[in-house]
Each structure stands twice: as C-alpha cells, then as structure tokens.
Symmetry: D2
Subunit: 284 residues, 4 copies
C-alpha cells in the first residue's frame, strides 16, 4: 500500500497533534500509523504520520503546498514524502563486504525500500559483487595527498545521482568535517563497537584487551566529531574469555549487519528525526 | 507528574484521532504521549492518550461525563483514569515466592504504581513475608471438595477490597471458567513456559525432554481456556545441554519475574487493550 | 592452525577423561580446547578434544587406528577428523533465498569452514545466484507422483559428491522417513518457528493469530518425525501488536539465518553430539 | 550432591590435563564437569574440575596435601574447596536496596550457595531489611575526615567474620587502593553502566545525553584503578528516545541485579579465574 509520510519536529504547544491530524482529516487522509513524542526536557514535539495515499485528495506536491502555512506557523522542520518515490542511497565501501552483501540482499529482495544508484569504493576489490547486481561501481582512490580532491569528486557523484542518503558500509576513510556538515543527517555510518566504548580504531582488539563480556556495533549519523554523531541503533553479542580478537571480528560482523540494516531501514522509511545529538527513532 | 489517561478501542474510520485530540485540546489538555494503532486486518482502532492533568480544565469525573457522547458515537470501549488513583491489585500465591518477592519489592520502592490491599494464598507458608510489609494476608485453602466455595469466597474478597486487578503470581490452582469470564481482562497469570510451547503442567521438565535451547515465561490474561488467553509479554533465556530441569527452574525464575513485572506494569499504567485473543500493548 | 578433533560419546565411568587425555599426551598432542559433559540422568559421557595437529606424532588415519582399541573398550561412538579436510555440505533450497545467500556469503568469506560441492533445488529460480559462485546447481523437480524417484535421485547425488552433511535451507519438501534414517544426524533443517510452538505449516501466520510477543527459528536435525528432531540452536526476536504476518516474515528471516548459520558451524566444526532426541552442543 | 572443586591456572605445557585428571582418577574421583581453557596468546592454562566428593578416597584437607607437589611442579595458582563449606560473603550497601534485596532473596531461597555473616553500610536506612532476615548489620559511617579509619574498621570486620568475598551492592564509596590490593580478586562491584562506557559518576545521565540505544551494567572485581578491574559479567537493555534518565534508572536496576547475581554466583561456585585484567569465567 502506498503511504504518504508526514514527519515534523517543532516547539511543543497545546493542540499540536489535533492541528496535524485535523489537517490530514480535512484532506480526506486515513491515518494508518501515528507516532508522536514530546521531549519533556526540551519541550520539543516530534511526530510521524503515515497516511493511506489512496485516501488523500491531493498528490504529494499539492499536499506539501497545502501544509506549508501550517508548517511555518508551527516553526517546524518537516517533510512530506510518498513511499512510491524511493530514497536514493549511495553505498560506500572499502574491502570488507559483509555489510555491503547484506544491504544488497535486502535491497534485491525488496526488504529495504530504496534505490541504489551507485556504490563508491576506494578499492577495486568489490567491483564484481556490485556490478553483478546491475549497480554502477565508482572507484575513487583516496591517498594522503589526494584526499581533498577525492572527496570533492565523491560529493559531485552524490549530486549527480541525486543521492538522498550516503551509507558508509565499513568505508575505512574519515569523512571531511565540512562534508559531514553539508550532508548533516544524510550520512549513516556503522561503527564496530558499542559506542561510546572504543570509539576510533581497532575496537575489537581493545575490547579483547579490556576483557569485556559483550561486544557490539553502533549505527549513527556521521558528524564532524568522529564516532560521536546521533545514534540510530545498536546491537550487542555476548563474548567469553575464549573468544580471540578474530572471533570477535566474526561475531561482530553479525551485529554490524543487523544494526546497519535496521538503521538504514528506519531512515529510508522516514522513521528518524534528529534533535541535537540525539535521535528520535519511531521503530517498527 | 499526574496524568490523565484516555484509553479507547473502536471501529476505525477517517478522522478518529483528530476528533480525540481535538476533544483533549478543547479542554485545554496538553498531550504528553500518544499511542495509536489501527489493526489493518480487522479495521479496528486503538489509542492511549496521556494528558498532563494540570493542564485540564475538568477533573476526571467531569471529563468522563464530557467524553461520553463522543465515546458512544464512536461505539468505543473506553476508560479515563487519573494516575493519582492507583489501581488496586490483589496478589495470589501458593508456596513459591520468587514472583511475590519481586512484585513486593517493586511496589515498596514505588516502581510499580499500584496499591496491594490483599494477598491471598491456598497455603500459609508465605504469610510472614507478606505481613511484614504491612499487607493483609488471607489464607483460603482449596481442596477438591471445597473448590467452588473457596473461589466464591475469594471473589467476595476481590469485591470487598475493590480490586481492579488480580495477579496470579505462581498461584497453582486453576481459576474456574465462570470467574475468568466475570473478571475478563482483570486476571493476569504468569506461565512458566514460552507459550504456546508447553502449556499445562511441568513445562520445564518437558522443555528438558524436548531438548530446546531457549526456555521462557509468558504473562497473559487468564481465560476459561487454560494458558490460552491474550499474551501481554514474554521473555526467554538460553539453556544448554548441561542444564538440568532444576537449572531450568532457576533460570526460568528470572524470566518469570521479568515478564510478570512488565505485564503488571503495562496493565496498571493502562497500556494494554484486549481485542479478541490478542493484546495491544503500548510499551514504554 | 590445523586441528585434529576427537569427538566421543560413551557410557560414563571413572577415569574416562584421564584415559582420553593420556592417549593424546602419549602421542605428543597439545590440547587446545577440551569440552566434556556427563549427563547425570543417563550416566553418559560426551567429549570433544581439539588437538594442535602439528604437535601430533601421527597423521589422522594412523591416529584413528591407534585409538580404535581404546574406543572399543569404552563402547564409544567416536570420530577423529582433521580440519584441513573440510566437510562437504550439500545445500537444498526451493524459492526463498535468504538462508542460501547467507550461507553462501559465510562460505565465500571463509567464515564457515566447509566445501559446497552442490546445491539442489526443486525449482529453477535460484540457479543463477548459485552458479555465479561457481557452485554446481541441480534441478530436481518433486511432484506428488515423482516424489519417491526424486528423492532416490537426490540421495544418489549426495553420494556422488560424497556429502558429509545436507542442509535444508528453507527447502519446502518433507524428506522421506527412510532417507532421514539413513542420513541420521547428517541432515540439518531450519524451521521458521520457535519449536515446539507452531511445528508444521504456516508458523508465522499461526504466531500472529496466537498473539505471541516473541517469534523465532529452530535449527534441528531432520528425523522421520516432522519438526521433532534434535535441536541444535534457536533464536528469537520480539514482535509487537503492530507486526503483521508479513512483518514477521521479515523479522523471522534474520532469526532463521542466524540460527541456521550457527547450527551449520557447530556441525562442521564437530561441536555437536546427538543422544536420543537431545543434542550436546559444545558452543564457542 | 557435594562437590570438590579443583581450580588451577598455570603456564601451559603438553599433558597438563592428563596429569590433573589422572591425579583425580588415582584418588577415585569421578569427574562431573571439567572446564579447561588455554589462552593461545599468553600460553596460559586454566581449569576447573568438579569431582563427586562421595567418590573421593580423601577429604578436602588430605586432597590439598596430596595435590601440593603436583601444584608446585606446575607452578600453578590453585584451590581445592568442598561445596559443603560455603563461601562467607559480606555485603556492602548505601541507601539503594535493589541489589541487596535481590541477593538476600537468592540467598534465602538457596539459589546462591553462600553464607552472609554481615552486611555493612555507611547509612542506617537498610538496617531493618537486613536484620529481619536474621543477618547482623554494621553501620560504619564514612566522611571525608574519617575515611581511612572507617575502612580500617571495615577491614577488621571482614577478618572477624572470616569473609571470603566482599560484594559492593551499590555501595557508593570508593574503596582505598591498598584495600583493593590486599583483597585482590575478593571484592566484587556492580557498576551501573556498560563499561568501559560511562565509567565514574552518573552513568545513566551521561548515557541519556549521549543518546545511546542500549544501557547496561557491569559486574567486575574492584581494583585500585576505578571501574577498570577484571569484568565478570555484563548485561544490557534496549532504551529508546522516550526514556528519561529516570526511566533508565528503572530499566538499569534489572540489569544491575542480574549481572551482579550472576557474577556472585560464578565466584562462589569457583567458576572465575583472574589473569591480568581479564577474567576466565566457566559459566554454567
């Protein structure tokens, strides 16, 4: 069933949800799922309304136009999107393919409602597993000397393919701060530790040395502050004394896959709203 | 903060949530949490609205009166309750005290917002752990011959203490079908298996014999059909080949405690709506 | 590091492990991992000894010969296997490819130490995803009339490729009882429910109707008794009232993948011993 | 069934387990459970052997004497203990009672095989819940000026009651470094975060501010280095955007209880061996 998704965050006040739902009802919209949250500390309102598109009198563009006065009045950040218009997601990888393979499978099977116009890598190793799915693969090498120009080139590619989202599926290069800012809330990373534990390099080795009994993975938005952006989802798995750092790599891969797949799904289904360094995730 | 909770289920139609939220806004109510679900198969609408009591112009009784015409028009089953009026919960036990001790701790610490006017048991063993908390303890023995009169007596006790809910915290007697029906949706049981596996007697022993790798517990409403009522919550724990039925008893106790405590909390916070044999649980 | 794995089950008696470890020490073997379990109810002994192959004076064939008198004296069922000799695993599928894709990825990446000499299917749909990995694909249609001859043909294929294990990766046909018996302990199935709940057809639909709050998957050995063979591993995921049977399909796929991948790994690493209808799994 | 537990760690060499199990067999001991682990990085050997006491020709003291030459030859750290001689555990608390109540229940029910000769607190609040269980309660106030003498007094109490283990069940004072060293491996703490995340004060508040999606608890040995000692067990629970720091307190309490109860059980059942900053836990 095609849905029209209205997502909004704004300062809280009495009667907000009544105004939003009345707007939808006025245009004939049948609400299938409503998620609403008011942050009691910041007095901020967040909502996601899923409307049966067939019940609406207006198309998405007309609905956006009709909503604009109300959105402005509420001082809201908002989007209205129709699910038939799938988000365009660029995947970025280096040499490890477990997250890539997982996302490709979920995309191919229709589980993840998104388009993948391009995969970018700083290595050639994964070209064939991408191209055999009929997806273009761009090799953009990154060296100490060429880093700035390489990321400029990549940003051009994002624009060319009209990317709505960039997913760093174990892409082993740090995104420049300015790029993170321009694409704020549109770059998702998977970090192979349970943040804030073991931010930075070699988390499994450090987890082993610390002797933790659970390891994990964190799916978060990339920001200029490394591994410190808003968290979308996390996953953990139990480890024991007999697990070597290599075992942790193996066990961690499943955590990474699961946390990343869920994080991407929440984003492409308009389930995530960012507020400061925290994320509101209307999970299903 | 005191909340006024409006809970409703009714046939679905366009504009329902707009009408409900407009009603709340009309009376000045500031919504703190809204949960809404429409069952797409049955076309049935379920909602829970948590309103800041301080923002409301009316007290609960007046609000109930004001809501009655709308509630009737929607053909809804609904309740309006103020959280300062805690639910009155009767606990029933036999000889095992792990669930009882856990509920008593959560009640005493204020974690579970409820009153416990009475504990009933068919044995004397747990009298002291109840009375030392200042809670009355009623010993109502049940034998094959006295079963009917014993349950009549217990139902009288429920009424005397104005019970809103009865919790079978490992009470080892089967409730009569007619009692289940009169108290439909008001009797919560904890079954020590992951239902529908191992309904009935000796679930851990049967789990051991089957060689399952996970055991669990199920918190559900008691109905005339044994262990088949609407499920509120379930929990599981991993077991291995070296776990004997006695180990399962130990591991299962923690599952039972957790599933029962959550189930009771959801109920006393008006988070559960029953529809046929399924339960809608607006978890927090 | 290459390991020599000694796996044994036998009646319990005093001094068993001393005799086994002395045998290994006598042949210079350095033990890297020892798992032992004695079933207190059946007085049965189970052990797995992982020996550094480089430390052994004998090769696997010679070691087997040297062990034979001790093995007989203990009335044991035992195997000695060298990990460089990977198990040969035949995968069987119908049209659903999530388990297949997962196993193929784990095999290709080296995570699952096994060879895949053949994939068999009763449909043609998955031929390309198999053949592009360089693995032969055999299409063996099964109809009501041809069932017996089809399974005879498949058993011939198992023998031709010298299969050590057959994995039913969502293969939608029921194995004949006699085939299950001949291949006892060598056919692994994944069932898409948390057994013994919802054995048989359409488990997700039935789980939805029952209103359970957790769904799961079960990896077990196929026996003549449908969905009742020894369980190797199980997995669960929380579901809520808003999850439709279709959502359960999606959530369940990840459970199925994980439980099956673990079950296969335990088997191909000689970590599973079967005793009656229970399995001893020396997990890592 | 009474067990004799032999626990040992020593440098690895060929034939170690054979020598240990032969020693046990020589004295008629029937092994019920053997756990062994060799750390491949440090070449260190760890084992726990559970022997049916009834099968042994020697009593624990005589067995210890008989084992001494072998233990020395192996350069091992070892203990031999009979389970009828329960460990003596001193509990320490401040004002929060959730961990205390949980441990008391598990002790009273016989789930935790230990004696509790004393509970010490720096506050009077929990005296009654301790004394009503028939356990002595010592009030030892700690102020900035009296800290040194207070901990001297407490150490005297540990010795007086012949404590084998001290459990900090949310005791809100930092143990002096020298005390940690003298009682190395004999002081268990529960920290209310998933270490190494949020070591130190106010972990739930900081977890909230960071916006993590899982919170946890860590049971570890106290060392001079705050919150950095060897970890015995960890637990986590999922949190969402709507959980306030107060909700996290509530959810975290169950994690703390579970992780601490497991950690204490592993210790009093001789299941933990410490090696540097890591712990080997032979879980059951």
């Amino acid at each position: 069933m095609a849905l029209t998704l209205l997502k909004i965050s704004c300062p809280d006040r009495v009667g907000l949800l009544a105004r939003l739902t009345s707007f939808v009802a006025y245009h004939g919209g049948n609400l299938l799922e409503v998620n609403q949250f008011t942050d009691p500390l910041n007095k901020w309102f967040f909502a996601r309304l899923a409307i049966d598109s067939a019940s609406l009198a207006l198309d998405p563009a007309a609905l956006r136009k009709a909503f604009t006065p109300l959105g402005s009045d509420l001082e809201g950040e908002w989007t209205i999107r129709e699910t038939r218009q799938k988000m365009r997601v660029v995947l970025m990888v280096s040499k490890l393919d477990h997250c890539l393979a997982d996302l490709l499978w979920r995309w191919r099977s229709g589980e993840l409602p998104m388009a993948i116009p391009l995969v970018i890598s700083n290595h050639e190793e994964l070209r064939s597993v991408v191209e055999r799915e009929g997806i273009p693969f761009a090799f953009v090498p990154v060296t100490a000397g060429t880093k700035a120009s390489a990321f400029e080139k990549m940003e051009c590619l994002f624009r060319e393919v009209e990317a709505d989202l960039v997913v760093l599926a174990r892409y082993m290069q740090i995104f420049p701060a300015t790029l993170c800012e321009r694409w704020h809330g549109k770059v998702i990373n998977i970090h192979h530790s349970f943040l804030p534990s073991f931010a930075g390099a070699n988390p499994y080795k450090r987890a082993y040395e610390r002797g933790v009994k659970l390891i994990g993975a964190t799916c978060h938005y990339a920001t200029a502050d490394l591994d410190a952006g808003p968290i979308i989802d996390q996953d953990v798995v139990r480890v024991e004394h007999f697990h070597t750092p290599e075992d942790m790599l193996r066990l961690g891969r499943d955590c990474e896959r699961m946390a990343l797949a869920r994080g991407v799904r929440y984003h492409v289904e308009d389930r995530v709203l960012i507020h400061g360094n925290r994320s509101i995730v209307f999970r299903d």
